[in-house]
Amino acid sequence: MYIPPPSPPTRRALLRGALGLGTAAALSACGGGSTTPRTSGDVSLSLWTHDPGYEEFFVKGVPEADRATDFRYHLKVTRSGPPDIVTKLLAQAVAGRGTPDLVGFEIGSFPRMLRGDISERLLHDFTPDIEAVPGLKDDLLPARTAPFSKDGRVYAFDSDTPMVVYFHRHDLFDRYGLTDSMTTWEEFAEAGARVYRDHRASLCVVSTVGSDPGQVVQSFQMLLYQRGGAFFDADGNLLLDSPEAEEVLRFLCDGLRGGFVIDVSDYYGAAMQTALKQGRVIGLPMAIWYKNYGLVPNVPEQKGKWRVRALPRFAAGGGVTAALGGTGFGVVEDKANTRAATEFLFKTWLTHDGQVRRFTETGYLPTRRSVYDDPRLGAYEDEFCGGQRLFGLYRSLLPDVPAFHQSPDQSILYDVLAGNLLRAYRGALSPRQALRQTAADFRDQAGR
């Protein structure tokens, strides 16, 4: 029997095949899950975060949320590095599937979400939800909604009110004759120069770690915002080149020459640990979370020797604190679980008891003003800081916490500012030149 040979593929057949494959691939890629909103019952929320502390907090909050809502929550947690969370979120959003319901944005990664219309397209706007809860709008600290807002819309709720305070070695301050009567940075600088001369110890730190511009900038940022300066306004316009910024940078540069300020490669690593252990650093301005992430891991043996106080003021003006850090939790928009995730966040993250629990479990300060009056927090004694009752101090600092507005071009500013700060610290540029150069470099690169 004759079996005819298979006919050769024609060009048209090949093209048709390729088109079919492409269409199938495109259809399978575009097919997302159902977006019919869930309104009650079992719901499995996908949570992305970089910090196991948050994971633990939310997992423990499930029973509380179950009681307060019509949902029965199950959490599926994925942990990843802070920048990777944004990258993966965008990749999944482009793919049209696999996005999380609840996302934790480390504050330094959130500016990427502000570029173009990413936040509008991808994140749920909490503004109407806030207004729907009586008293919440006035109770939430605007200083901590500002970093995660755009055009007046709130896209994430901060994990902390990371006030900047002054950490110091109580024992060494006594020994070196540094008294509580010093209330201004200028007095600190004068006494600090003497302490450095006599004891080789410094009262302030700047980071010079080249691989992390964010850290280099932080040293300057804390004092700049305390002094009343800022990087950006609410519309994302650059405000850096200001008399306050010049004053702060000059203060740090002079401090470095006199030894009052020491440059350490980074706040968390071996160099800082050595400086702390050797008593080369006996005081520094830093956010309150630094106790848990910098001091306790590096110098646990110094427990009881450290104290916390408000930042000294600048003689020329400004407040007694700043804010540094934070992580905002947002909800992905237009998903079946958007409503469930929003309610979960409101019933765990934002309740009075939730904020108290957040402090006791993670050490992060409340973002609602009224919670600072809770007697449980007022009675809290910090063992590492010699049993200090810190909430009285935190309450007194609250009115001075400045708003921190972010810009999509923030990473550009950090890159150029870090380099110019280092040049100013070394004396290669004057503070004025460094700031002008930064502003010029920023304008050259922003918006490309």
């Binding site: 004759y2 570029r115 080249g210 511009p213 490669s265 160099a271």
Partner: protein
């Protein structure tokens, strides 16, 4: 029983046929199916990404939504971007270090390791090769500690030996480049040494004997016997080192983050920064296209100059 397929009338075999259709070879799906995996993968993972990069470089895209066509605007901006020029300059420095320092040093070490009668040769070989298999994260951590200005090992040694040790290895733009170069040297020299060593072991011993009979000294033997014999290996090592250094990322990213003041920013870091820190995907794609063209063009030039792939007589 044997079955023979007989062609029906009108169909002739290619041998002996006279019509135009008769000469057409018999075709089937089979060969296409056999070669299709390669072409499918090649198209999917090579041509499509390259094409998309090229198209993306002509758009403005934040990573979500529809890219906006901007024509050659990204390329025009790159031409005036000081940051990109710095990245090109830094990358050129790293390429020079790789080609002009690392490669000769690797050859020198290979020559030393090839010395007759060298004891524990394998131990030396392993010792030189180890840095390339160490995780870059660990490398950055260790060298970060070594190069710390206040408390680092390098300055401690300098202080102990010379009484001075205030070098800001990672904080001063000039020294930061030197630090990156030192790490490149540490990581890559041993790896390239292995290639040269393999080449040296294949040089016929008779050539050295003939050179010795002719009264050639060590230097003369090296330049007239060893180097010509190693030409194919050298060409390969130079081109791969060039390509590797032109795309250097790990060392500056982990050790200096491209700083201070962009003094160690490489082109690949520039691309990464634009795409994944600034959400400027179109701009990043344009920089990637420029890097691709430069690396491809210069590699072709090296290939031609060094005669790679040319038959030796």
């Amino acid at each position: 029983m044997t079955t023979t397929a007989t062609a029906p009338p009108g169909i002739t075999h290619e041998h002996g046929g006279t019509g135009s259709t008769a000469h057409r070879p018999r075709k089937s799906w089979a060969p296409y199916l056999f070669i299709s995996p390669f072409y499918l993968l090649y198209v999917l993972f090579m041509l499509v990404p390259v094409g998309v990069s090229l198209w993306l470089s002509l758009t403005e895209w934040v990573g979500l939504g529809t890219p906006r066509w901007v024509g050659l605007r990204n390329y025009r901006l790159l031409a005036t971007d000081i940051s990109f020029h710095r990245a090109l300059g830094n990358t050129a420095v790293f390429v020079l270090v790789a080609v002009c320092v690392v490669v000769p040093l690797a050859l020198f070490i290979a020559q030393a390791l090839n010395t007759r009668g060298l004891r524990v040769r394998d131990l030396w070989r392993t010792a030189y090769f180890v840095p390339i298999v160490v995780s870059p994260i660990l490398v950055a951590l260790v060298f970060g500690l070594i190069f710390d200005r206040q408390f680092g090992l390098a300055n401690a040694v300098l202080r102990a030996l010379f009484g001075t040790g205030g070098v800001d290895w990672l904080g001063d733009p000039g020294w930061a480049r030197v630090s990156i170069a030192l790490v490149m040297l540490w990581r890559w020299t041993g790896y390239l040494t292995v290639f040269f060593l393999a080449g040296l072991q294949n040089v016929p011993r008779e050539l050295y004997e003939a050179a010795a009979l002719d009264g050639a000294g060590r230097l003369r033997t090296f330049t007239t016997v060893t180097l010509p014999a190693l030409k194919p290996v050298t060409a390969f090592v130079v081109v791969t080192s060039f390509i590797g250094a032109a795309q250097i990322f790990e060392e500056p990213y982990l050790l200096t983050g491209g700083g201070p003041a962009e003094s160690t920013l490489s082109v690949t870091m520039f691309i990464y920064r634009a795409a994944f820190q600034r959400q400027q995907f179109g701009y990043a794609a344009a920089a990637a296209v420029v890097l691709f063209v430069l690396v491809f063009g210069l590699s072709r030039l090296f290939n031609r100059l060094l005669g790679i792939g040319r038959a030796t007589s």
